[in-house]
């Protein structure tokens, strides 16, 4: 159930009658509301389709186009209806928002079009109801990503126009990343590709046996590498030189060298060329050359350099990386099965003479080959028990490998998406709570600014008024009047957190030194307390508040509304816990007698230091010094006065 805040405001105001007997001061007069006509039916014509609704329905959300006087711009006097030249199908959803308080997202419409309609009618996209919010967000994100990709591709395709001031480094880097930008880059791209291929083929061909010249008898099987060592060495050298040159150039051109050094591609490059250099410096020692030979294996990594040239390889690598946990689990379950069966086979075959199953690890090979249904036949059980278990092993191998794989894959895909959704929801919840907090602060800021304006009006500074006064809707006026009445009833005022903390801080350091100044404030009449507020400071504060309210003005009313949507929300609990803290906080250092006295001499934040305020207060503007510390509204002071007089006489 969504509560339209505006609908309940009259009720809340009526209930304020309950404060009347308790108020110690006269309550402020109600804001002048223009004589409201009875409720009437409005006709809204959207591109020919007529929608009719009560005026009150539209007035529920005064922040929007239809709820405010903005709709008068679209009024057609001849036909007596409001005409909008927009999509009538989308308007249905907009109007339903007014009726039900929930904005639903149409499934078959383009999300961009929907967004535009919302922007036109002044509805914030966050108003989309919970039922549709997730889908709305997903579709928007999808759209945004797709557009970003398209933009990137476009940029890459048309080739970035070389900016006049781009350095050699930047141009070089761009040439490396996008080979299509210039012909030189393209040539370089193909040349490196060619050399990678040559190097890989050379590595492969090196090991093929070549028949030696018939002169040598008996004809020995040499590998080609041994037959033509110089040729292969020259090819290897050439390739390595090219690769080294490329690596150094990339290193030079990279915008962030550290990041480049850590990237996978550069590591592959290094691994590809290192064996050659190591080989150069290692002497042709028999012991070491064994290790050197194995190092040449790493030359095969050159093939990974192709991934720069191939988008598909990169995607495959990324997919494997992202499925790492699922693969890990599969591996683990397979390992378990292998160990079990290997153990069983080993003990089954233990008795046999000349058995291949010499140890459990030796049996691993048999188990793996059997379970994957390879069946090389190099290890075969001979006992009957062994054969039985062997057959069980091969049957279960089919089950263990074939069946769970799709189940696991789909299962983990589901869990993965669920996790993502939970994270998404948590992030959205955080955003929503932040929004609600912002809305609450928005309303309080609006109210505080209203008080500022009243203070300014009283001090008669006309130009600040024009600067700061914001046009308030009837709803806001009435709401502020309600809050004002509450202030008068309790003799306390609302402030924002900043000034409250300042007051709190000043109280704890104000302490007893303020006794003398509070005595001097005794004979001050009520009049002088009103006007000495610093108009300059007021203007600064007002501007600050105006800026903050402007940014939340649109959404404030609607956000208040969404508060109601959280039925079992933690918000009320948090507020009451806040109040519990209030009682804890009040055990301040100073005892209560000094409390109010200390408040009188609080220096106006933040410029004045306590020293500054001291000399000013006993001086001629005795009232001025003390009252400059009070907030610049005329509201609270008459109430404060009797108390201070009473206390400072102690």
């Amino acid at each position: 159930m969504a509560a339209g805040v505006a609908t309940w405001l009259p009720f809340a105001r009526a209930a304020a009658v309950g404060w009347l007997p308790l108020a110690q001061q006269p309550l402020p007069p109600a804001p002048g509301v223009k004589a409201s006509r009875g409720d009437e039916v409005l006709v809204v014509n959207v591109s020919g389709r007529r929608f009719e609704t009560w005026k009150n329905t539209l007035d529920r959300y005064p922040d929007t186009l239809l709820g405010s006087s903005e709709k008068e711009f679209f009024y057609d006097a001849d036909s007596g209806e409001y005409f909008f030249d927009r999509d009538p199908d989308m308007f249905r959803h907009v109007l339903n928002f007014y009726r039900t308080g929930r904005l639903h997202c149409p499934r078959q419409e383009c999300i961009q079009a929907f967004d535009e309609e919302l922007a036109f009618y002044g509805l914030v996209p966050e108003l989309v109801g919970d039922c549709c919010l997730e889908e709305y967000r997903d579709r928007k994100k999808e759209n945004a990503e797709r557009l970003a990709e398209d933009e990137e591709a476009e940029q890459a395709a048309e080739g970035p126009a070389l900016r006049a001031g781009s350095s050699l480094r930047q141009r070089l880097w761009r040439a490396f990343e996008n080979p299509h930008t210039s012909t030189a880059a393209l040539v370089f791209y193909y040349v490196t590709g060619f050399f990678i291929a040559v190097s890989v083929i050379a590595n492969v061909v090196e090991t093929i046996p070549c028949r030696g010249p018939t002169l040598l008898s008996p004809p020995r099987e040499h590998s080609c590498g041994e037959r033509f060592p110089t040729a292969f060495f020259c090819m290897d050298t050439a390739c390595v030189l090219i690769f080294t040159g490329e690596y150094l150039l990339r290193l030079f051109a990279a915008p962030s060298r550290c990041r480049f050094l850590r990237s996978v591609m550069s590591l592959i490059d290094v691994v590809a060329i290192l064996p050659y250099y190591i080989g150069l410096f290692v002497p042709k020692n028999e012991d070491v050359s064994g290790a050197f030979v194995t190092l040449r294996v790493f030359r095969v990594f050159r093939i990974f350099k192709f991934s720069r040239h191939s988008q598909g390889l990169r995607i495959l690598g990324y997919t494997l990386k992202s499925c790492a946990s699922e693969l890990g689990f599969l591996l683990f379950s397979l390992t378990m099965a292998i160990i079990i069966f290997a153990t069983v086979m080993f003990y089954a075959e233990k008795g046999t003479k000349k058995t291949n199953f010499t140890s459990i690890p030796a049996a691993f090979w048999y188990t793996i080959v059997t379970m994957t249904t390879l069946g090389y036949g190099d290890m075969v059980p001979s006992t009957i028990a062994g054969k039985i278990f062997g057959s069980i092993c091969s049957l279960s191998g089919v089950l263990v490998i074939a069946l769970p794989v799709p189940v696991i894959v789909s299962n983990f895909s589901r869990i993965y998406h669920q996790n993502q959704r939970a994270d998404k929801r948590r992030a959205q919840q955080k955003v929503r709570l932040a929004r609600i907090r912002l809305a609450k602060s928005g309303t309080t800021n609006a109210f505080l600014q209203y008080k500022q304006n009243r203070g300014l009006e009283d001090s008669g500074s006309g130009e600040e008024q024009a600067l700061c006064v914001r046009n308030r809707s009837a709803f806001e006026k009435q709401h502020h009047h309600l809050l004002h009445c509450l202030e008068k009833t309790t003799c306390h005022e609302f402030t924002d957190e900043l000034t409250f903390n300042e007051a709190l801080g000043a109280v704890s350091l104000g302490g007893r030194t303020s006794r003398s100044t509070s005595v001097s404030s005794q004979p001050v009449g009520p009049g002088s307390l009103l006007s000495s507020c610093c108009p300059r400071r007021a203007k600064r504060r007002a501007i600050r508040l105006a800026n903050s309210t402007a940014s939340v003005s649109r959404g404030s009313m609607q956000e208040l509304d969404t508060l109601a949507g959280l039925r079992r929300s933690p918000v009320p609990q948090s507020r009451s816990s806040l109040n519990a803290k209030l009682h804890d906080n009040l055990d301040l250092n100073c005892d209560s007698r000094d409390f109010v006295a200390a408040i009188i001499s609080i220096p106006t934040p933040p410029a004045n230091t306590p020293d500054e305020s001291q000399p000013s207060s006993p001086g001629g503007g005795g009232g001025g010094g003390a009252s400059s510390t009070l907030r610049n509204s005329s509201l609270g002071t008459p109430c404060l006065l009797p108390e201070t007089v009473k206390i400072s006489s102690l």
Partner: protein, 208 residues
Amino acid sequence: TCSTLLGLCAPPDTSDSELELSMVRHQPEGLEQLQAQTKFTKMELQSLYRGFKNECPSGLVDEDTFKLIYAQFFPQGDATTYAHFLFNAFDADGNGAICFEDFVVGLSILLRGTVQEKLKWAFNLYDINKDGYITKEEMLAIMKSIYDMMGRHTYPLLREDAPLEHVERFFQKMDRNQDGVVTIDEFLETCQKDENIMSSMQLFENVI
């Protein structure tokens, strides 16, 4: 938290009760009867009912919803306690939900009633156990709930004994025979003599 714990332990029960509340519908009496009971015109009643029905399709407002609604107007403080008292004041038949008749009768008193009726309504609000006497404890509870609505960030800083002080002043003013309770007659008499209160009685008449 107690209710959420209970909800966790026995989900079917809470969902059933929720279902029950939503299935229980309430239709108000006819327009003419309401017109007779209240001082609203037909158009006003129609407008009020349309708003009410839109917010509460079932025709009833339960206490939690009421608290949520009322709390929206006081973002800085905690309005739940005061909303609780208000709810009890509106719920004339005490069945735990405000129906449209309760709502409209209450509003009629507050907006169109005589000064006496308004004061009687206020007295009814303060008298929590509806025994005809306002004791200091009742008044303190009400006062605390009103001060709770101010929240933490007030100027001057809210002292812990501010409600109590306020209650003392109230009793000094209202309790004529100093017997520790305020009766309806004492209340009416004192209020009618107080200028401030009398002048502000007309404050909310143009609300609808």
